[in-house]
Amino acid sequence: MPDQAQLLPGTLDLLILRAVSLGPLHGYGILLRIGQISGNALLIEQGALYPGLFRLVRQDLLKTTWGTSENNRRAKYYELTAAGRKRLREETESWNRLASAIGAALSAQPEEA
């Protein structure tokens, strides 16, 4: 996939929270979900997902349970905690503000400035 964008620092956590907000998922599932909801436009090194997951668990934003995957493999499932849900809401808002501000700044015409 030649046109994949590098992730900005700090955005992986947000993507994980978003992916998990749609229902409990194991690590590989989270990766697939992110690919699906972003239209495969983001380049994520597969292993790099896990430190992010452990960090979020440690911050009590995610909780884990061991379960069985659709093709019968034992896998660890992640789901949002209440704090995680709150964090996702806040981060989404702040991301939207940032994105629209930067978008506005970049699309400003010389005479408007």
Binding site: Y28, Q46, Y50, R73
Partner: protein
């Protein structure tokens, strides 16, 4: 609460490292398996699918380490690992370890002695009521602690700063409590000694100023608790009993409380005796009156001293007095304690210098080992810690890592590879050692580069 939680998490992580480890392995492997399942469905063989899943996953060990770090167990764990390695390496060279440990033990011993002496001299006061207001008199530029009896009488009777001034002197006598004369340390004191200090008897009574009627007028003694306990088996009937002091009969008046061990820091006497020989030189002490500062007391004493100088120009020259630590027997006088401290400092310094050169020699010996470590991909940080933990001033190293920031230290490692004489490391106490680490690391790095031509510098 957050801090406690985090600590608990870390400690739990430390003890359940193996459980956590297995958990992580299971999870990461599950990921690879799941990915391989998907790849297999695209028509690859199982082996090829697994191979490709592993490649796509990326550096397995690196991510696992990062997971540990994210889970919060790494700092303690890595310190433990480094200490274990240090211990193993030290065990491999017992000669070196013995020398290092002995050097450290001697230096620490010297320090303990100095602490013991300064504890006795400076920190722990005499065990009397209201010890803060108790001062001893010192005289002249040498801070002599002894006064003559006539001078003592003048100072005692004419000063307006002390509640009372008592005087005493230490000597040893032959003491016979039955049929076994033994040597005993006694304090010969003026009659007002116990009253001036404010000490109450444990048993019987003490003697007072009113008991003093000139030489040989008061054949009484007071026992210390320790002497009474050791020689009279805590017998309360001891009061009134007669004992022989240098073959003269004396009557036991009472026993002092257990915590009161006289007014000398270096010597606990066995008994107190009223002063019978007025020819002796005496140490003098007393409680300041409430509201009187030591400086005021000194001025007061010196006005008396000046008067004595005028009255007895032959005997009392250079009589400037000052207030000092009571019971030191002249020991606390500045120079001697400074001398002890500097001696201990020198010993410590010598020990550090010795150890430093030993470690420098060993660090040079380790170049092969560390080159190997760099080649197989040890993190620069871990390597740095590995050198630092076993270096003499571990603390300053870590301090310098903290003040300069971990990243900075690593960054400063980088130019080393290209130009070994490049940047100065940092201007801190452990400069020599840091330079050593740098140079050594530079050599290691260059060695490593030969083995790994594709990789320039230490990346992080």
């Amino acid at each position: 609460m957050k801090l406690i939680d985090s600590l608990r998490f870390r400690i739990a992580g430390l003890f359940h490292r193996s459980g956590l480890n297995k958990d992580m392995d299971d999870e990461l492997r599950a990921h690879i398996e799941l990915r391989a399942d998907d790849l297999e469905r695209t028509g690859l063989t199982r082996t090829e699918a697994e191979r490709r899943a592993r490649i796509e996953f990326g550096g397995y060990q690196r991510f696992k380490e990062e997971c540990h770090e994210a889970a919060g167990g790494t700092l303690l764990e890595s310190v433990r690992q480094d200490l274990r390695l240090a211990f193993r390496i030290l065990r491999k060279s017992p000669g070196f370890t013995t020398v290092a440990v002995t050097t450290l033990a001697l230096a620490i011993g010297a320090n303990a002695v100095v602490f013991g002496i300064s504890n006795a001299l400076l920190i722990r006061p005499l065990n009397v009521p209201d010890a803060q207001s108790l001062w001893g008199l010192e005289r002249g530029p040498e801070k002599a602690v002894n006064q003559s009896y006539p001078d003592y009488l003048d100072l005692r009777d004419r000063n307006r700063s002390f509640e009372d001034l008592a005087a005493y002197n230490v000597t040893s006598v032959g003491l016979n409590t039955g049929n076994n004369p033994t040597a005993a340390w006694i304090l010969e004191t003026t009659g007002n000694y116990f009253d001036a200090l404010g000490v109450q008897p444990y048993l019987g009574r003490f003697y007072h100023a009113s008991d003093e009627h000139g030489p040989n007028s008061s054949p009484y003694i007071v026992l210390t608790y320790a002497y009474w306990h050791a020689h009279f088996q805590d017998d309360p009937g001891v009061v009134g009993r007669s004992v022989q002091l240098n073959k003269h009969p004396f009557t036991i008046l009472g026993v002092a409380p257990r915590d009161f061990r006289g007014t000398l820091i270096f010597l606990y006497p066995d008994i107190w005796v009223p002063l019978v020989n007025q020819e002796r030189l005496l140490m003098t002490l007393g409680h300041l009156k409430p509201g009187v500062t030591p400086a005021q007391a000194v001025a007061d004493l010196n006005s008396i001293g000046a008067d004595l100088e005028k009255t007895y120009p032959k005997d009392d020259s250079k009589n400037d007095l000052c207030a000092g630590s009571p019971g030191s027997g002249g020991w606390v006088a500045g120079p001697s304690s400074t001398r002890i401290s500097s001696l201990a400092g020198l010993i410590l310094l010598a020990a550090c210098a010795n150890l430093g050169s030993l470690f420098a020699a060993r660090a040079a010996d380790r170049s092969r080992e560390v080159a190997l470590r760099l080649v197989i991909g040890i993190e620069t940080n871990a390597h740095f810690a590995n050198v630092a933990y076993r270096s003499p001033s571990d603390f300053t190293d870590r301090w310098c890592r903290r003040t300069h920031g971990q990243r900075d230290v690593v960054a400063r490692f980088e130019p080393v590879a290209s130009s070994p004489r490049g940047s100065t490391y940092c201007a801190c106490e452990s400069r020599c050692q840091c330079l050593l680490v740098r140079t050594v690391a530079g050599r290691f790095e260059r060695t490593a580069l030969r083995h790994r031509p594709g990789k320039a510098g230490i990346t992080r």
